[in-house]
């Protein structure tokens, strides 16, 4: 009887179709406990900031009420109120939306630029490669925060407020997205270039060339899909870095301008209230930490799942 079951199981196992690459990757990912935890926390944070807007109105988040300024957390204001009497809880909800949107949009710019420059440099090689890589190195030589400060100062306040979906956004959101994208593509470009350098030596590329496939098609249809794993990992981690960059620059008062809230600009000036109003900096700061941490765990799991050989640490 028991031998029957084992043989049956064995036959079942043998007859089961082999796992596809995607299924294998998904299995590796779900086994990574910290990545799953990061993913769950990230979903909760997204629900918090996007679902929260169903319960709290944006006008309420931007409503100033000086008489109750700097009041400590209470039932009406669970996270307290800020220096002009706005509700900190409502602002962390709307600030979270902007912070996450900035992170994602900045990474879209970063990834497009990184892929474009890395792919051209890696595929064509020679003089174009040297030229693009020297430019990349020159960009890397100035610490990102300095570039961000200078560019934020230079481009700041030049774009008028915009209205989307019935909501008004400070024009500085666009500026911040663009400058974070422009100052962070360098590492990705290097990764993409390295991938292209090795993949283009394969026989299937030679075959594609022999059949007269155009360079653009080889780059987009043959090489890029094969180098997608490190790009996905790098883009995921890039969102965390972009959220941090936004927080740094807004913390210094050069980022997104009020009344539009972000987790970063809620912290601007909060260091003057360390003692008297710790809730001013604790809640947005903690949410930034939680988001960045979740994304980093998620990115780590993605790296293990998609790209198991490239593990550096």
């Amino acid at each position: 009887m028991s031998t029957d079951i084992t043989t049956n199981l064995l036959i079942d196992d043998l007859e089961a179709p082999p796992l596809t690459l995607q299924e294998l990757a998904w299995r590796r990912f779900t086994r990574h406990k910290m990545a799953m935890l990061g993913g769950i926390f990230l979903i909760l944070l997204i629900l918090y900031s996007f679902g929260g807007s169903l319960f709290v109105d944006e006008k309420y988040a931007n409503l100033t009420n000086p008489p109750i300024r700097l009041s400590a957390p209470s039932i009406q204001h669970p996270f307290g109120t800020d220096t002009v009497g706005r509700d900190v809880l409502a602002r962390t909800i709307y600030g979270g939306q902007i912070s996450m949107i900035i992170g994602i949009l900045a990474v879209l710019i970063e990834t497009s630029l990184g892929i474009l420059i890395g792919a051209i440099a890696g595929y064509y090689g020679g003089k174009i490669d040297s030229l693009l890589m020297r430019f990349t190195e020159a960009m890397l030589n100035i610490p990102e925060i300095f570039l961000l400060i200078v560019m934020a100062k230079f481009f700041g306040n030049k774009i008028p407020n915009l209205t989307l979906f019935g909501r008004t956004f400070s024009g500085s959101v666009v500026v911040i997205v663009v400058i974070i994208g422009l100052t962070s593509w360098m590492y990705l470009a290097r990764i993409v270039r390295a991938e292209f350098l090795s993949i283009k030596e394969n026989d299937f590329i030679l075959a594609a060339k022999a059949t007269g496939t155009s360079n653009a098609e080889i780059i987009i249809r043959h090489i890029l899909p094969n180098s997608i794993a490190p790009i996905i990992v790098s883009a995921t981690l890039g969102v965390a870095n972009a959220i941090l960059s936004e927080a740094y620059i807004s913390f210094l008062g050069l980022g997104v301008q009020p009344p539009t809230a972000t987790w970063g600009n809620m912290l601007d000036g909060a260091n003057n209230y360390i003692e008297s109003a710790p809730w001013l900096w604790f809640f947005p700061g903690f949410l930034i930490l939680l988001t960045v941490l979740s994304i980093n765990f998620l990115g780590d799991g993605l790296r293990d799942a998609l790209d198991p050989h490239s593990r550096a640490v």
Binding site: N141, I149, Y248, L267, I274
Partner: protein, 315 residues
């Protein structure tokens, strides 16, 4: 980028005629590319038009940054940029070198320990902690440490740490005061980098511990201590030299946020203050210095690495 002329004028309104003269004196009437050339190689080889009659008559004074002339600050009028930066540079350096010292020592201890106790509870704990440290925004750990060690300790009647500035003005700038004021900023800067470094050291140490020569050393019965510190650590520290060499100059600028929070009179704060007031010569000077420092340190790192590791040869 703001208005340099307004910065120079100070609080009083400048007369239009003076503004024009200043503009021509600073070369702001020229196209941006000419301004850049003047900044790069100076304008003493040509004449500039000071009175605005269309005839260039006054000889230029500037030598350009390639000949070591960083220009003059617009905020501290007439003060050479190098003097302005030079006043702040030592403050940043002591903060950074102290932090780097703590980072290297701490990450070696933590990294080696968790590599030798791989997959133990402590290793998992340290790995999780280093992930948190790596994701930590520096302002959050700075504000949190200020709240705990200054505000709460004071409230609980414990000895508490100072939070802002470099020394207590009532006591003066003594070594003890500066050290005391350095504790929190150094802690904040190092806590974050320590996380990344110790992960790196852990992985290189793990790699080295699996090498044949370590097995040989074990087989011939060398004491464990000797294997770890002489055979393993020496080889594991090679790649770390690269990381330190590349990170050191970035620390110069990495403290912008820290210096702002702790009101530390260093270069990062100088940069912020002068960006806000459109003091271009100082801003450009600081960016130039940091970029040069990055390049110089990269070359030094390459040379030191080749010297330490005889397997590497440059052709």
């Amino acid at each position: 980028m703001g208005d340099p002329i307004a910065t120079m004028g100070g609080r009083t309104t400048t007369r239009p005629a003076d503004r024009e003269r200043l503009k021509r004196q600073l070369g702001l009437d020229k196209p941006i590319i000419v301004q850049y050339v003047y900044w790069l190689i100076g304008n003493d080889w040509t004449k500039i038009d000071l009175d605005g009659d269309g005839v260039a008559e006054t000889a230029g004074q500037r030598h350009g940054i390639l000949r070591g002339d960083f220009g003059y600050s617009l905020v501290n009028r007439g003060k050479p940029v190098l003097d302005v930066i030079g006043e702040r540079l030592p403050n940043t350096l002591i903060l950074m070198l102290a932090a780097e010292f703590v980072i290297i020592l701490g990450s070696l201890l933590v990294g080696v320990y968790s590599a030798l106790h791989q997959y133990s509870f402590t290793d998992h704990f340290i790995t999780t902690l280093s992930f948190i440290g790596y994701s930590m925004p520096i302002f959050f750990i700075a504000l949190l440490s200020m709240y705990i060690f200054a505000v709460l300790f004071k409230r609980w009647g414990l000895p508490y740490l100072p939070t802002v500035g470099m020394f207590d003005p009532q006591i003066g700038k003594t070594t003890g005061q500066v050290l005391l004021h350095m504790i929190l900023p150094v802690f904040s800067i190092s806590a974050i980098s320590l996380a990344a470094y110790s992960r790196y050291i852990r992985s290189t140490m793990l790699e080295v511990m699996n090498q044949d020569y370590i097995r040989t050393a074990k087989a011939k019965g060398l004491p464990r201590r000797q294997i770890i510190f002489i055979h393993a650590l020496k080889n594991a520290s090679l790649p770390i030299v690269t990381v330190i060499g590349l990170d050191l100059p970035l620390l110069l600028g990495g403290a912008v946020v820290t210096e702002r929070i702790f009101a530390w009179p260093g270069m990062g704060r100088l940069f912020l203050d002068h960006v806000e007031r459109a003091d271009l010569p100082v801003v450009m000077g600081i960016l130039m210095l940091i970029s040069v420092a990055v390049v110089v340190f990269q070359i030094l790192t390459d040379i030191i690495y080749a010297w330490l590791d005889p397997r590497i040869r440059y052709h």
